[in-house]
Amino acid sequence: MKIWNSGAGALLATAAFFGAAAPALADETIVIGLQAEPVTFDPTQISDLNTSRVVHRIYEGLVGLKYGTYDLEPRLAESWEISEDGLVYTFKLREGVKFHDGTDFNAEAVKYSFERQTDENHPAHGSLTYRGAPSYLGPVDTIEAVDDLTLKITLKQPSGPFLARLAGMTVKIVSPAALKAHGDDVGQFPAGTGPYMLEEWEPGIRATLTVNPDYYGTAPEIEKLIYVPILEPVARLSALTTGEIDLTIDVPFDSLTELEENPDIELQQGASAHVWFVALNTQLSDPPFDNVLVRQAMNYAVDKEGIVNDILQGTATVSSGPLSAGYGDLQNKDVRKYDYDPEKAKEFLAEAGYPDGFGGCEFMVPESGSGMQAPIEMGTYIQANLSAVGIDCQIKTMEWGAYLTAYRESPMMAQMSWNPPIGDPDIVLNNLLNSSNFPPGWNAGSYKNERVDELVSTAQRLSDPDERRELYLEAQALIAEDAPWIFVDHGNQIIAHTTKLKNFLVSPNFDLVVEGASYED
């Protein structure tokens, strides 16, 4: 915005200084307000949502997610075949694709990009600090570039979630030429194949992406994306209502009504795969969390509707298991449900041998944290609900960094939430509830049900989606019955944008996919 010119008088200057805060929107550019700045443009090094929201535009994987869903679709691989035994994946790669640095995308590039992560002797391995490979490429035995456009990946053992994992951030394909040229600093000089490329990055101020003119797919309608970090929710809201930004996420709960009434703003709530729960240490006899009746009683005692409506202002749905509706038909909707019923909770406690309830329970609550919604308010609400049926809990709050460490040291009772980046149930059911992931793994409550272990572990080795689905449905029913957690809610994603932005769909994996959207002034 250039209002100032040398001939202007002081009056004009003052008027301009305090004048309209919002510059007129330029054509085909939108400004997106993030909660924090992106930290790197190396997809292998990303573990925070705000960075991935930008980097997803620049890089692509062999497979991708269909717009607005968790369904897989071909991306850099046009098609693939899985051998009968589930061990060999043969990918037919897309022809004529170029990286942003002008080099060719081919099977060798995929091999280079993957082996950078799996092979410790790879020349580019040293540029990795964070190694996500065990989670994503763990099952891989060998990677072979059969010809320019054919890639053969052989697994050590069959892996059900493997294909879905290939849609993840860590395994997006980075240009080998860029890795060779920039070494450790590749995170500042991204070269992917995605529909947008990085034009300018001023850390802390803005990151500007511009359309990739050579993109093989449908070119996005919006030419330029500018990402700005706005940390304070009120400032984000203000920037949106004054037109400084066009799109933002996670607006404060108490301003939703105000935004709904604003004719220039469209508020979208979309289901996600988020889950918010309280893990109970199922191995503990004092307090008696090893008693299933006690855990069920606690589920009856907590008013989840109340939490969703009063604290979260309706921006979530009540949870009855680890998987949300975001998983579509993989979610078992017919599991045992624990509707709020304090009387029933008391009956269950009496049956378990605790007619007067019990005390001595320490409830760990973080002060904030990714996906934790309103941890302290929700924690005190749950504490009050439990107290009403005779269970006395002391809340212990902690800063998020310290909390994450403490959470992995077998807490008695602790809040947690999960934002799965991909749509495979394995990432939830196996990571959080399989007994092979006892602390310091993420099964913090040391929940163990041999049948659940068997179902989840078997599903991990199968590649047939229907067979896997059956196993996951059964596991969910057992988990609901065992109540290893107090199931609380699945949060919606709240996205607010100007009404000039059309066709924008909320994606369940927390991404902000603008490729399918358009802008009408």
Binding site: T129, Y130, E244, G401, L404, G441, W442
Partner: protein, 315 residues
């Protein structure tokens, strides 16, 4: 004078050494693990352990300190764990932005704080004096995050006359845009300092005005304006400059909250994020830079004393 300067500079070395030990141990002894935070919830325990090993976090604390301090002496501040980039250039880039904010806040504090203080002393025991001191009291009492958010609600969202966050408009801007973006954060940050300066200036001035040489000046027929602005102010300025020096330190450190509220891309904001992620090299580097500037500001204040009051000699 030269000896004094050298002596003072030599004294900064043990101070910085002490600070480095303090920062290092406070960070490393605090609960929380950078490997856990960096890897996020999808990582296997083995991956976390590998990363701890790579980052050298499994070595004894004293060895870790030695390695870090050894590199600092050579000017190597290490690599940021979160940004995966060298710490020093990144810290300096953000520090520059913090200095812009601090300078803005300081300008506001000096002009309004000292100005109001002088006028309040001049119009001692009038309505102006009482009103000014009431405003100053309010300024001291209001926490920065409150003032900041209130300012956003009123001026950015309500009247829509000022931008709510950042240093420049999203689409880029010039010096003029920078000034628009600076106004709210600078006033927010400078408000407390302005209030403190106003009160200190007023009391320092009142004390000086009652002294004999002022009576003598008035008796000689020096104009009242000259008495206040030249004779009295010069003599009150030692106190004012001392407090001002301390306020600069406060502004540098206090910018953390203001930067978070207004998303000002400064060092404070960077440090908050680094602390949350237990990005040890960044936090340690940032604190050292702030500590160094604090030490040098104090030195500068001491040197200004001599210029203000020629009776002060350094040896």
């Amino acid at each position: 004078m030269r000896n004094y300067l050298l002596k003072r500079l030599a004294q900064t070395i043990p101070v910085l050494f002490g600070i480095s030990i303090l920062v290092f141990s406070m960070l490393h002894l605090a609960p929380g693990d950078p490997a856990d935070l960096l890897l996020g919830p999808d990582a296997t325990p083995e991956a976390v352990e590998d990363l701890r090993e790579d980052m050298g976090l499994n070595r004894p604390l004293i060895v870790q300190y030695g390695a870090w301090a050894g590199r600092i002496v050579q000017g190597d501040f290490g690599r940021s764990v979160v940004l995966n980039r060298a710490v020093l250039p990144e810290v300096m880039k953000r520090f520059k932005n913090t200095l812009i904010l601090t300078a803005g806040a300081l300008a506001f504090a000096v002009v309004f704080g000292i100005g109001i203080g002088i006028l309040a002393a001049k119009f001692h025991q009038t309505v102006f004096d009482s009103a000014a001191m009431l405003v100053a009291l309010a300024g001291i009492s209001m926490p920065t995050f409150f003032t900041g958010i209130a300012a956003i609600l009123i001026f950015a969202m309500g009247f829509q006359v000022l931008p709510s966050s950042g240093m420049y408009p999203a689409r880029g801007g010039d010096f003029f845009d920078l000034m628009r973006h600076l106004l709210m954060p600078a006033v927010t940050l400078g408000a407390v300092s302005a209030a403190i300066l106003a009160r200190i200036t007023r009391s320092a001035m009142l004390e000086v005005i009652q002294q004999d040489f002022i009576r003598t000046a008035r008796a000689k027929g020096v104009s009242e304006d000259k008495v206040v602005w030249i004779h009295a102010l010069r003599n009150a300025s030692i106190t004012i400059v001392t407090v001002l020096g301390m306020q600069i330190g406060y502004l540098l450190g206090g910018s953390v909250i203001t930067e978070a509220v207004f998303s000002w891309p400064g060092l404070g904001q960077m440090m908050v994020r680094a602390i949350q992620a237990r990005d040890y090299p960044t936090v340690q580097g940032g604190v050292l830079i702030i500590a160094m500037s604090f030490v040098f500001i104090n030195l500068a204040v001491d040197l200004i004393y001599a210029w203000l009051d020629p009776r002060i000699r350094y040896s």
